[in-house]
């Protein structure tokens, strides 16, 4: 659990390698998207355009599976989460670089974004009054548990990603300490799988939390759906 090393200081603000790596990823994403979307055409799409369309369509289909008909609204946020977390997790495989997501600060920031967007999308879809009322269903006695659950699931979201990625990097390091040159390769292969799975899970959980917030008003209108919604919004 060594702290990220400081690259330079900006007044009292210490800029760590995590922040610099994240800036690098943002640059890569920005320039990559700019290059890829320069020449879009509907008639003869190029190789890059087809690949990107495939990625966006699969993300859209995944969102549509959870929240039918709302994919357009959530695609920017969930898609960004998915792509960023996946690429950030895989950054750890590049020599000399560490995954930004192996730092609790990054994952806490991402989880905080998810926490805010649950309320933002919930209020946007059902209005403040209806949204706040779902905290009082099925009974006002459960209000403390609802509130507690909001915080514990956000904490769990941050801890899960951080713990997984940090332990992966640490496992590769420890294997390297006790064994030779090529032995950590299987561990690094596991890293690829685990990085993608964790990115999928992070985005999917964010999507399900947001779906739980958005469906709260539909649940109060027809009581039959309440049970399934409660299960979806349940806390870890």
């Amino acid at each position: 659990m060594e702290a990220a090393s400081v690259v330079f200081t900006l007044g009292w603000l210490r800029i760590t390698t995590t922040v610099v790596t994240t800036w690098g990823l943002m640059l890569v994403f920005g320039i990559g998207c700019w290059l890829a979307t320069r020449q879009l055409s509907a008639d003869n799409p190029g190789l890059v355009q087809t690949a990107l369309e495939g990625a966006v369509q699969s993300i859209e289909a995944a969102i549509d599976g959870v929240l039918p008909g709302r994919a357009e609204l959530l695609l920017p946020f969930i898609g960004t989460l998915w792509l960023f977390v996946a690429v950030a997790n895989l950054t750890g495989l590049v020599p000399e670089l560490h995954s930004p997501t192996a730092d609790l600060s990054t994952t806490a920031a991402l989880a905080f974004l998810v926490f805010l967007s649950v309320h933002w999308f919930g209020i946007r879809s059902s209005g403040v009054k209806d949204y706040l009322r779902h905290y009082l269903t099925p009974s006002p006695i459960l209000l403390p548990f609802h509130v507690l659950g909001e915080f514990s699931r956000t904490l769990a979201l941050a801890m899960r990603l951080f713990g997984n990625i940090m332990s992966l990097e640490m496992a590769a390091l420890l294997v390297l300490l006790v064994a030779g040159l090529l032995v950590p390769v299987p561990v690094l292969m596991l890293h690829i799988v685990e990085a993608l799975v964790q990115a999928y899970i992070f985005g999917m959980l964010a999507l399900i939390y947001i779906a739980g917030g958005m469906q709260s008003h539909e649940a109060s209108e027809n009581p039959e759906a309440t049970q399934t919604d409660d299960k979806k919004g349940s806390t870890p």
Binding site: G65, M159, S167, I201
Partner: protein, 88 residues
């Protein structure tokens, strides 16, 4: 043995025991979840998508319990806050 010896010995043992016990139960829970998912998958192959999705979410929830244990163990080993009482 000095206090420091005891401290090192006990934290090492505590870390090993904690990670061992802390992994057993999430492993059992994951096994149960996967068994059920496979059974329902064999019964209803057309529901594959939603079963897989729910399984992944459930596994992530269970897994976070094991991750909590790991974080506690790493704190015990590398950043034990109680160590400063000993070093005073």
């Amino acid at each position: 043995m000095s206090d420091m010896h005891w401290f090192v010995l006990i934290s090492t043992v505590a870390a090993a025991v904690a990670i061992a016990i802390g992994i057993i139960f999430p492993a059992i829970a994951m096994g149960k979840a996967i068994t059920q998912a496979l059974e329902s998958l064999a019964r209803q192959p057309e529901a594959e998508k939603s079963i897989t999705r729910t399984l992944f979410i459930g596994l992530a929830m269970i897994e976070s319990l094991a991750i909590y244990v790991l974080v506690i163990v790493l704190i015990i080993l590398f950043r034990n806050p109680l160590l400063e009482y000993l070093l005073k």
